[in-house]
Symmetry: C3
Subunit: 481 residues, 3 copies
Amino acid sequence: MCFFCPPKNTNIRISLPAVCFVWQIAMIVLFGVFIRYDAESDIRLWLQLKHTNNITSDIENDFYFRYPSFQDVHVMIFVGFGFLMTFLKRYSFGGVGFNFLIGAFGLQWALLMQGWFHALDPTTGKISIGVEGLINADFCVAASLIAYGALLGKVSPVQLMVVTLFGVTLFAVEEYIILNLLHCRDAGGSMVIHCFGGYYGLTISWILYRPKLHQSKRLNGSVYHSDVFAMIGTLFLWMFWPSFNSAITDHGSGQHRTAINTYIALASSVLTTVAISSASEKRGKLDMVHIQNATLAGGVAMGTAAEFMITPYGALIVGFCTGIISTFGYLFVSPFMEKYLKIQDTCGVHNLHALPGMLGGFIGAIVAAAATEEVYSREGLIETFDFEGEFADRTVGTQGGFQAAGVCVAIAFAVVGGAVVGLILRLPIWGDPADDNCFDDEVYWEVPEDEEGIPPVLEYNNHMTHKHQDISESNFSVEQS
Amino acid sequence: MCFFCPPKNTNIRISLPAVCFVWQIAMIVLFGVFIRYDAESDIRLWLQLKHTNNITSDIENDFYFRYPSFQDVHVMIFVGFGFLMTFLKRYSFGGVGFNFLIGAFGLQWALLMQGWFHALDPTTGKISIGVEGLINADFCVAASLIAYGALLGKVSPVQLMVVTLFGVTLFAVEEYIILNLLHCRDAGGSMVIHCFGGYYGLTISWILYRPKLHQSKRLNGSVYHSDVFAMIGTLFLWMFWPSFNSAITDHGSGQHRTAINTYIALASSVLTTVAISSASEKRGKLDMVHIQNATLAGGVAMGTAAEFMITPYGALIVGFCTGIISTFGYLFVSPFMEKYLKIQDTCGVHNLHALPGMLGGFIGAIVAAAATEEVYSREGLIETFDFEGEFADRTVGTQGGFQAAGVCVAIAFAVVGGAVVGLILRLPIWGDPADDNCFDDEVYWEVPEDEEGIPPVLEYNNHMTHKHQDISESNFSVEQS
Amino acid sequence: MCFFCPPKNTNIRISLPAVCFVWQIAMIVLFGVFIRYDAESDIRLWLQLKHTNNITSDIENDFYFRYPSFQDVHVMIFVGFGFLMTFLKRYSFGGVGFNFLIGAFGLQWALLMQGWFHALDPTTGKISIGVEGLINADFCVAASLIAYGALLGKVSPVQLMVVTLFGVTLFAVEEYIILNLLHCRDAGGSMVIHCFGGYYGLTISWILYRPKLHQSKRLNGSVYHSDVFAMIGTLFLWMFWPSFNSAITDHGSGQHRTAINTYIALASSVLTTVAISSASEKRGKLDMVHIQNATLAGGVAMGTAAEFMITPYGALIVGFCTGIISTFGYLFVSPFMEKYLKIQDTCGVHNLHALPGMLGGFIGAIVAAAATEEVYSREGLIETFDFEGEFADRTVGTQGGFQAAGVCVAIAFAVVGGAVVGLILRLPIWGDPADDNCFDDEVYWEVPEDEEGIPPVLEYNNHMTHKHQDISESNFSVEQS
């Protein structure tokens, strides 16, 4: 604790409820004005659609194409990201709990923002939502959760709400530019989700640089069980990533191929991550940080290219390389960034999201540019790259160029937006923790007294706690005696 | 330990195996007499059905409409409810383990009970089961698991088997009255599952009131890691609730709309729960009990209305209000109930299930009564409310009235049934724990000696273990001295 | 620590990265030469297929029949098996982490091995993969993960890679013999997965027998929280087993019926496991080892018969018996095997996989032999048992005989293959741990210093950490003094 400066005020009793209430009420009003069921979830419109289009079976409803993938994505957002962030010894509540809070807020705001850009009916002024809208909302919020990874333990929940409000807004705009104006394909979001989210978080972290963060060093690490909790997050992300990348790709072979490519790339990442992790320790021991994170890099890097005909061995190569790059990132880039670039990146989102996302964008550009009619067939090229309407004459080469441009747009939005948001977050009104109080759930959570052993009665309890400490310190006494 | 009364006998070595064996053998006999595959899971009948109805594709089998939702529901029942109940520091085995036991028993009994009421072929006297039957069995058992939440830590597994046997039986009868006789709609079970299950458990807990429960106070709370385990349960419940509510709704737009409404309501609950939880602590700190439970209230409260055209903002409002109400319940109603009504509700099922379920039933009644042909279309109204056969002339107003009556039936069954079961459970033959032994896995489980740190060598180990035992048994020594 | 022999060298800094890199590069080359998308995941071929076969809807793509089941299976492989093996107090990293590593490697090798045997196009020399191929790869790797269960804590990750390389190879060959040459049905893999995997692991464990394993006894057990982690594995296995058994069965009623049968059998297992576990302890206390494992035996034993018309009560009986047998296995057979047969089976895979798998094979044989046209219809018999082509004239009796022969083939491959692999693993080059170092993550993982309580200030922290190290290394100091 710093004795020369007044302690920071981390009381959020007014600000957090205020933000939650005001924003939730705003959501209700805006949903009331704008949001309606789409033609596949509105009973009247669906019956009408069935009559008009001679749909004979309810199984043709988009729900049955996408709902299983939606639920997998939903698990990734809340259990995957949430538990991945429980790895700190005393910030598991904050990791999984704030992830839950900002996820739940962000997806509402995302339904609106993405609706305005993508699903607004110009005649009625209403947004139609269906299962694809829910998936897109989850995707949109993923970018802000990635940004949270860079900020974990250093910000207040009120700040996180601000990060998410702006994050979702920026996301919707950059996504509109990349997918609609540049007409890029990015089903799994290498560019729009991972690259954007990663650099957005890193830029905010850079602006919020804490030179005295080492005062919380004792808490900036894991304990045995918190590492096992984090593996829950890792595994659900790893297992369901094929669903993430394929959730909104084309029906039929599109979803099928995307899932296969992602599955293969992820398998490959695991082996190279293990290899580099082992090779970097003097006795070959593995580091849980690498296993928890770098194993996922293959999924990030396949976010754009997985729906293309990258071929199974192409997917393996992508996973191979990104597993190596990501692990090297944890070994060398993160320490470098912290020391020289003043970027404190708690979860290493640079190595798991920002960099592999950027690479994934460029891989997508290359694979798109290399597409041929021989492999895709003419009809297949049109379906895969959506060469229709005003884009009917676009060549695959041009498409590749636009894909690459998309990466730059994502980074630009992330850095500029992140800088602005970072500056806003430096206002002294958000209740963020002091430098010696970071990574500590005590600040924002009622934490139970932690006695694994069970003290019997209350008076005794106090007594006991005392005793208990004696014992847990008995390495002292035993050795001293 | 009480020195003036004989210690309770918690030996269940005869009773638990006896109950398990006898009931399981009864299940085998009854399944043999009654249960058969339905037309979509029997190879002969399915081939026949395809020929008769000109079904060209196997994808029309109900399996593909419902199986993904079924698996989500299954996860909610066993991981969701199970892990939500691991929050106590020393009752995690009992929380997840007994949930597993009574879930596995209950679903078998539910297949029979529900079958007799809903799927009995009058000509053959056989019950047909398919994937919808499995979902309904999971639903049925959910009510008993909710009741377990009120009793957690205070009853023996044999008592839980009794609670489940009667719980499933009562459920099947009240469900038959509500869904068939009153012709209510209640796809997600606000009334039949949550309201019934909650009040059933509360009534039993009231009958089993333990005035000296404070003797186990030291164990009636969480430790850091047990709270993280409970978040696994919370999140899987929260994420999969859209599947819960939509699992047995109408194919097509019905399932689609129900999932959307539930997703939206749940998101809204999270924000108001956080707001109230923070506002109620002097420094704005969040309470894990609220985050683990009240965030789910939106899903409970949408159990009836989610399949109606409640509109997205209507769903937001429901989540908004029930998040507040549920958190207030944890803050004020539970302590009040314990002190003045003599109801000890370990998990606060009143606030998460009973009350939001009751509200959900009334919300459903209102939304049903407000339905119009303009919104649903004539055909849509008939499909949504099943206005066919003897109910062809029912108006939405009448329907609303019957929906409200359904809530009362559910509560009546819960209270009367719970009182009877509670009295049965007071017989001194069930092996329940003493007042100072509640919330303790030691009673019914072989618990490993808990040494997180690993004593290095064996002599030292014994030394250490010895010391450790001294302490853990020192409640005796201290009280005696 | 042994003073008379040089300490074993557990340094895997060269060998593990080398194996990972070389094998991963080999995978890339072999995938490049052999593996292609199948007709339902290749855009050109899928469009062609739709035109040729008049497929009007993308929902007919096999992806929509199998992908939800695939993801459930995927969860079983990585979270189910992985977390089930976290039960040891200090081997949770190794349990879930090495499971992850060998799973990710094994599924790549499985795609190739199974492809060569089942999906090689003789004209092009290419293997076509789709979602069914992914499921089969997960199945194939499951056998090696089961074998890992017998070896848990006693082998190095390099050895596990060897176990998996040979395990997958042997699996593909025995599967080809059983499914193609003998024309058995074994959708859920009682024979090919569980029986083979179990005996394969047991045989390896027998060859690697460690007479002095008691030196690691202090670590060969659970702590409270590690048992709760293991329940995550148990429950995901238990819940998703219906998907495991039905994942590759026939579309339509086949998948539907298989899921129902497995669900029912598993429920029954839970009750008899609880009964025997309780009856075997003097106060009726339950043992977590039984609950974590034997409850799953019903799923294993239904691996072959679940797709047949075994009837719901038949499924209950199977679960009833195998729950009992498996629990008895943990109580009596495992200690017997360790003492007299010199087989050290860490997770008791004999009782959960080998024996129930073998029984499941024979149950399948009996149910197949008892099939009648009356129950299945002629067309149904042909569809269920695939009596087509050269097998068009096979009777159900003959089929039963071949099914039984399949069990023997699986065991023969497991024992002979396991013996060879065991001998290879005895070479002193694999970096396996010493007898007093088994079940210890310290050997292959960088384990965080474990201080659950957080020492308040920094000087103290250093002091504490220093002392703590003294203790954890005091096996040296104590023994030396």
